[in-house]
Symmetry: C2
Subunit: 164 residues, 2 copies
Amino acid sequence: MRELFLKGMSQLASPVSVVTTDGPAGRAGVTVSAVCSVSADPPSLLVCIHHQSPACAAIERNRRFCVNALRDDQAHLSEVFAGRVEAPGGDKFGCAKWQSTSGGVPVLTDSLVAFECRLSATLLEGTHRIFVAEVLGVGPTDGRPLVHANRCYAAPAPLAIRVN
Amino acid sequence: MRELFLKGMSQLASPVSVVTTDGPAGRAGVTVSAVCSVSADPPSLLVCIHHQSPACAAIERNRRFCVNALRDDQAHLSEVFAGRVEAPGGDKFGCAKWQSTSGGVPVLTDSLVAFECRLSATLLEGTHRIFVAEVLGVGPTDGRPLVHANRCYAAPAPLAIRVN
């Protein structure tokens, strides 16, 4: 069942983001494909992060984080923050340019779009913690989204379709 | 802020699914782009549904539902279950072929992949209810996923990239 589930989930196309945090628990960042919109009133989203990831504990304490959605030319950042490719000198954040929110959370300078978040609720489910957060700020959008589908990186190609 | 949030979220590429339910509260189905994997141990996922959708109340009572992820040739089903295109005779379920889980929940016969779910937790956040569920069964996978990105339907096109 576990293998069927993983294979089935890999078929879905998911956006790829690097979730970052900083604050009393320190700076951390991790690649996440489980991000989704929750509500527009108030603007809110959720992310799911493995409970053993250092970023999970850091977000729980810092209560502020940023979802930096990646562009289709940023797969290398996805690999670095997923821990599959070692960053030069061991400094993941050294692989890109960052700005800061007023609260000090790193924001990827040239992301597809960045959402500054304040934690509002969490729920532990199996191996992952679900973080629900209010969106306080949205960075400008540019480029095509990076997608993970069928265990490959991809970009969405518009379909020429009639829907009715 | 609300408009910025909606524009930013529209840039992300999201998989498109029809979530179905049946049981004591009756049959319902709705198009959802907020679906994500939560944990593989045990297999679980979440979906976010507007609290005013009839499917929201039905899932809360039935406690069983199915996430039918759509293929790139099923955008018409997305439109029908989103209520943007009227189904012939007003019967949304008449637009496709369905099977049933042992619990009687409709499963789209030729979906990309279908996940049979049992509700384990819910959380209301703004206008939407988050349903967290254990996955009891996974249907076979076939085809390319339907994606919604930048307010268009799309399919993921693999990128020829080196990641390191």
